[in-house]
Amino acid sequence: MLFAWMLLIVFLALIACMFEDLESDIGSQSNPNSQVQLAAQIGQVNRFFNKAISGEAPSYALYCTIAGVVAYVLLLKDVNPLLAIPIGALAGEAIHVIFSVTAHVGRTAAQKRFEQPIYLDVLYGHLLPIATHGFMATLCITAIAYIQCNLGTLSGMPALDHPFALPLLGFIWGITVGAIGSSTGDIHYGAEREFQDRPFGEGKRVVYHGKITRYADCGVRTQKDIAYFCAKYGGPITGFTFGLIILFESWRSLIGMMLGGYLPLQEAMASDTLLGTVARVATELIPAIPAAIGDLTAIIGIVVGLAIGIVLIVGNVVIVKWARKRYGPFVGE
């Protein structure tokens, strides 16, 4: 049962981070928005949604914490989690949409001197995709926080409940999902889609900065064309990043708990059998037993984590080597 909940968390993490990245593409939330901002200043009037409320990590921490707090309060009032979590996410998204409007209108209004108009159809047309994608991300993060808070209770071993309160877990994963969405997902939008009429296979030179691709396959490009493109590679890879992190973190902890004896001990203590009574009495009389088991559990978790990290380093060496061989030195001017 514990493994099933863990896998559900991993799946939710994958969905959350993918939608977070796509939302940041639709709203032009993060680093690549510097080019949207710059475009108008160098005379490139555009129909992009210019929304940089703050860095992705602090903004998602805000939405997820609001969602977590509202859900937490509702849960304290005995509201069913299936209702409390979506209502919390909805409250977080309401704040998100308010910030989206003020950020876009405020930033674009400030560009009046560069003759960048505020296109109302761009404003209205992007709010719903921003809200829906953001809602999915916030909903999944709040659900993850709820499951982790009650993991032990849900799987029959109360000791496994996470010590942090639901809003703090929402904050932690909000920060993390934003940091990941910003550091991985942005690349596909900033280095490729935003400069699609520039040569592929090279870093975007400083002279290109601000000269973003303003025309789509048909008509003038807006952020909706970008989400469609990034959903094919950038979004899933970003979701995969967060999913893998949660998977590795959970997996190494679980391996440690199983091999270190923590999980069998908790299972025994939770049972009503003779073995359970013996385990409860023994851990109470001899505190050194649970302490030793806890230490061993932590050590195994650390060793497994370090081993996974070394495999990741080797993976990077292989990718860099492959890219150097496949693409070769830079050719051109």
Binding site: S30, P32, S34, G55, A57, A159, H162, F164, A165, L168, I175, T176, G178, A179, I180, S182, S183, T184, G185, D186, I187, H188, G190, A191, F200, E202, G203, K204, R205, V206, V207, H209, I237, T238, F240, T241, F248, E249, R252, S253, I293, G294, D295, T297, A298, G301, I302, G305, I308, G309, L312, I313, N316, I319, V320, A323, Y327, P329, F330, E333
Partner: protein, 231 residues
């Protein structure tokens, strides 16, 4: 050791390690999102905070079944190490397959660890692109140190200052953020890792962070004392 001294020493060590960790991360900021600079395409504080929070989550779980400060801190360190490792690896996948660029350093001509030449693979008018091996390894070390520092502060607040777990998490994070921001000011936007000339600015940041952390440690002690948590 006296609990007061323990709190102050742990917070001080945690803050200094956080600052050191931030300096080792390969942070490319906004230019990295356009493959114009080497490193991970986000801000210094956000990246370090994301990694440290990931470590803090695991450290808090581990602190429920062990009271060994080293094991809790190492668990936090490994949590951060995994977060950074996966993020940098998949960022490189996006650089290589999404943008078609070779990860290269813009600050050195030869990778100090693998010995691979960098200059001829770099796009002109760019300050490098992607996460080369030297930056990757530097980032992994930085994540280990930063995560260790964050978890160390959490454990001190939890066990020695007797904070409630959620409050200890919030306070540890707050002290961590203060140190990370000081380090980010020192870096000034982008840094590639320990091979970057900007890394030489480290002593100033360490000194500033030590002062900030010392003050934070004293403040924690005052709060714990006035709140009747210790003594």
């Amino acid at each position: 050791m006296d609990p007061i001294l323990l709190i102050v020493v742990c917070v001080l060590a945690g803050g200094v390690l956080a600052s050191l960790g931030v300096h080792l991360l390969p942070v490319g900021g906004a230019p990295a999102a356009m493959a114009t600079a080497t490193g991970v395409a986000t801000g210094t504080v956000m990246l370090m905070l994301g990694a440290a929070m990931c470590g803090l989550f695991t450290a808090a779980s581990v602190a429920t079944y062990t009271s060994n400060i080293l094991l809790v801190s190492l668990s936090g360190a490994v949590g951060s190490w995994l977060m950074m490792g996966v993020t940098m690896l998949l960022a490189n996948l996006l650089y290589v397959f999404g943008a078609g660029v070779v990860p290269v350093s813009g600050r050195v001509d030869v990778d100090p660890i693998t010995g691979q030449s960098q200059k001829e693979y770099k796009t002109p008018q760019c300050d490098g692109h992607g996460v080369p091996n030297v930056s990757y390894i530097s980032g992994m070390i930085g994540a280990l140190l930063g995560g260790f520092g964050g978890a160390l502060m959490y454990f001190a607040l939890l066990e020695y200052a007797n904070f409630e777990p959620t409050m200890a998490g919030v306070a540890a994070m707050a002290i961590f953020v203060a140190n990370a921001i000081i380090a980010a000011y020192n870096i000034g936007g982008t840094i590639e890792g320990f091979h970057d000339p900007k890394f030489k600015r480290l002593p100033k940041a360490i000194l500033t962070c030590a002062i900030i952390s010392l003050l934070s440690g004293v403040l924690v002690w005052v709060v714990a004392n006035m709140g009747g948590l210790i003594g």
